[in-house]
């Protein structure tokens, strides 16, 4: 059922309503992960990629497939294993024999989809990881001498298991930086679990309807990028990123400039999702955790005291908020 009015793709109010409707539709298929859905929506609205960290069976695949259905986007799941080769992800040239003779033809890999679920990305070798990360960054795949553009919108949702370390290849910091968000997926509450069981084990599966398409999502992204930010809010945002580089016994390495870009985009997207056309301090605060937690490298003191990245970020936010409260 086509619900999107294409003549109103440039209408911010209408598009904000449509995006909100998409979020609502996704929530029909996913129980109790409102925060995760919101953050994934933010990443989609800004063209960023997401790294999900959590236990298996928390509905990650279901989330991506639901998003694909709501946004009418093609979806592929790649299970990363140590023997997975880059060509298994990107595709490869194969010899084709026909009447004219033999020739090479590029056989596209699973990456040529709008939505990719890279499951347990840290199980693949760095070479394979790199193939995916290059595609995430450039939105192109190079095989041999030919570069192939990926479909737009292109969105990668990678997962990694925080517990099992044996036989894994943890992502290097530089590659982690390419993920816009790192989202921690917590175990659902009893009530949420009850809802999940009822939803998945019941006789009637919820009907998820298409609300938008790739074109609409790209139009929404354009609008999000135009949302104005007040100088003080921008200063606050930059101060937060700069503070990660200030002398701090708990931080070994601070966030990259890409963090500031991601933070701006995420804050804008959050405002847009809430039907607001300006960025607030609160938007920045909320976006700071998923944007910064994988970009800050905790120091020895933090590790030895069991202080998490989120706690470090909270301290920074509190300190900076106090300063900006004085305005």
């Amino acid at each position: 059922m086509e619900t999107l009015d294409r003549s109103r793709l440039q209408d911010p109010v209408y598009m904000a309503q449509q995006i909100a409707a998409c979020e609502k539709e996704i929530q029909k298929g996913i129980i109790g992960q409102g925060g995760i859905i919101r953050q994934v929506m933010l990443a989609m609205l800004t063209g960023g990629n997401v790294l999900l960290e959590g236990m298996p069976g928390l509905g990650k695949t279901r989330l991506v497939s639901t998003i694909g259905r709501v946004f009418d986007l093609s979806f592929k799941r790649i299970q990363f294993t140590p023997d997975l080769m880059p060509s298994d992800v990107t595709g490869t040239n194969i010899i084709i024999k026909n009447e004219q003779g033999s020739s090479f033809s590029f056989e596209r890999g699973p990456i040529f989809s709008n939505l990719i679920l890279a499951d347990e990305i840290n199980r693949a070798t760095p070479k394979t990881q790199s193939a995916l990360l290059e595609a995430m960054q450039e939105h192109t795949v190079t095989v041999g001498n030919d570069s192939h553009a990926l479909k737009e919108p292109f969105f990668v949702l990678a997962t990694q298991n925080p517990i099992e370390n044996e036989g894994t290849y943890p992502l290097p910091e530089a590659q982690l930086d390419r993920f816009m968000f790192k989202i921690l997926v917590r175990f659902p509450s009893k009530e949420e679990l009850k809802g999940i069981v009822a939803l998945t084990e019941g006789s009637e599966a919820p009907v998820i309807e298409k609300q938008m398409d790739g074109e609409g999502l790209l139009a929404a992204r354009t609008l999000v990028n135009q949302i104005p930010i007040a100088d003080a809010v921008m200063n606050y945002l930059l101060e937060i990123v700069m503070e990660t580089h200030a002398p701090n016994p708990y931080i070994r390495e601070g966030a990259s400039p890409r963090a500031a870009q991601s933070l701006i985009r995420a804050a804008r997207a959050k405002a847009f999702l809430e039907g607001r056309f300006n960025v607030s301090f609160q938007d920045v605060k909320e976006a700071a955790y998923p944007v910064l937690r994988h970009r800050i490298i905790a120091g020895f003191d933090a590790i030895s005291k069991g202080i998490t990245e989120d706690e470090i970020i909270k301290n920074i936010l509190d300190a900076k908020s106090a300063l900006f409260e004085k305005i």
């Binding site: 100088d231 003080a232 809010v233 056309f277 300006n278 960025v279 609160q282 305005i327």
Partner: protein, 436 residues
């Protein structure tokens, strides 16, 4: 909502924020200034500080002026006012709209519209109090009350400060007077005078400079009075000398009219100053001394000796009865004292002299006592202590300058009265001049 109205609301908030900041900062500044003032007042209870109230007032004024300057430099901007308004649940809508007020664009326009709509709907949420926190206000008020209270508490140091202040005023007045005299002396055409006349004028100048130095060193009323008496005598002497010079001029007619006029003017001025000085002293210190003399009669009789006058009275009483004490009512008993030790009959006569001194006269037979310390060479003040008939008494300490001043005055009086053999006057003058 129109842009104009939108701006007006922000402007109103800005004004209230400025007032609030001013009051808040004023309370802080007044508290600090009052603290400083309290410190001044506390110091003034122990140390003489005549201008302490002015300093305290200045601290308060300085605090307020600082606040005013800070407020001018750091006054609330429209952006800050807009952000403040956003604190009341507008989620930075107003600040963003204000910053983009003149920009065009779909989203910017929508944002502005959204902000104005929100402001119109929830304007009543904005409540900016102009009053400082009650804790700060109470602190400020309490400190101010404490400051006023401290300024009203009387103390010895405060009285001393007043005394020193009036002393300074008098010293300054006298210094100016002497400097004028010295200037007038310098301006005289000395080449038209004879060598002797020039020498006399130089002596006058030196003598006046010595008096100037005495005034500058005066740190008590007694020293001031001693210096004044000496100066009066000098004026008297100098006016006599000037008269003589004038007489010589009339006889010889060897001077220019200008020099003669200048000499005449100086003589008049000295007479005038002398008259003023005498009147002033008689009016103030004479009255004081009179009070002292009578007030201390009882004390003297009891043998108490808190000060020079009292001791002298005691001496006088011991030797010559009440004559001295009574005599000191007109001036003081010092002279009576000095003489009383040696010649009881002189008490009354000397007591009538208007020359109050508070040093202890040391009888000749014990003048070389080892209890007497100090020497003239290094201008130290001597100490004298004596046990007599089982009673201990101690002389009041008088500074070297006052003692020398007193003796010098007596010597000059003696010269004026012709008590010394002729030809000795210059030797006496040189002797005393060597101390200055």
């Amino acid at each position: 909502m129109e842009k104009k109205e939108f701006l007006k609301i922000i402007q109103t908030c800005r004004r209230r924020m400025n007032i609030a900041q001013f009051l808040e900062k004023s309370a802080t500044a007044l508290s600090i200034s009052a603290g400083v003032g309290i410190l001044f007042q506390a110091v003034a209870l122990l140390v003489p500080l005549y201008y302490v109230n002015i300093y305290s007032g200045l601290a308060l004024i300085l605090g307020e002026v600082s606040v005013f300057i800070v407020m001018v430099i750091k006054r609330t901007t429209m952006e800050q006012a807009a952000f403040k308004m956003d604190r009341f649940g507008f989620e930075e809508r107003i600040a963003t709209a204000y910053e983009n007020l003149d920009k065009e664009g779909t989203l910017v326009g929508l944002q502005r519209e959204d902000a104005m709509k929100a402001l119109q709907a929830h304007r009543d949420r904005i409540r900016i109090s102009i009053w400082p926190s009650w804790k700060k206000a109470i602190l400020c008020f309490s400190l101010l009350i404490l400051l006023v209270g401290l300024s009203l508490i009387p103390s010895v140091a405060k009285d001393r400060a007043k005394e020193l202040y009036s002393l300074k005023g008098e010293v300054k007045e006298k210094e100016e007077e002497i400097e004028e005299m010295l200037e007038a002396l310098e301006q005289l055409q000395q080449e038209e005078l004879t060598e002797k006349q020039q020498e006399a004028l130089n002596d006058m100048a030196q003598s006046l400079e010595a008096s100037l130095s005495e005034y500058q060193q005066a740190v008590s009323q007694e020293m001031l009075e001693a210096a004044s008496q000496k100066l009066n005598y000098k004026y008297q002497d100098m006016s006599g000398q000037l008269s003589e010079i004038m007489q010589e001029i009339q006889d010889g007619a060897n001077l220019s009219l200008a020099t003669a006029d200048a000499l005449k003017a100086m003589e008049d001025r000295m007479k005038h100053s002398q008259g003023n000085g005498v009147n002033k002293e008689q009016g103030s210190s004479g009255e004081e001394n009179g009070k002292d003399g009578s007030g201390r009669q009882g004390q003297d009789g009891d043998g108490n000796s808190d000060n020079g006058n009292g001791q002298e009275g005691q001496n006088g009483d011991g030797n010559s009865g009440n004559g001295n004490g009574q005599g000191s009512q007109g001036g003081n008993g010092q002279h009576g004292n000095g003489d009383a030790g040696n010649a009881p009959g002189n008490g009354a006569g000397n007591g009538s002299v208007n020359s109050p001194h508070d040093y202890v006269s040391v009888p000749n037979e014990i003048a070389d006592s080892e209890n007497l310390t100090g020497n003239a060479a290094n201008h130290d003040t001597s100490e004298y202590f004596r046990a007599q008939n089982g009673l201990s008494w101690e002389g009041t300490h008088t500074s070297y300058d006052a003692v020398i001043g007193s003796y010098e005055q007596n010597a000059y009086e003696g010269i004026a009265a012709g008590r010394y053999p002729s030809g000795m006057e210059e030797i006496i003058k040189e002797y005393f001049a060597s101390f200055n």
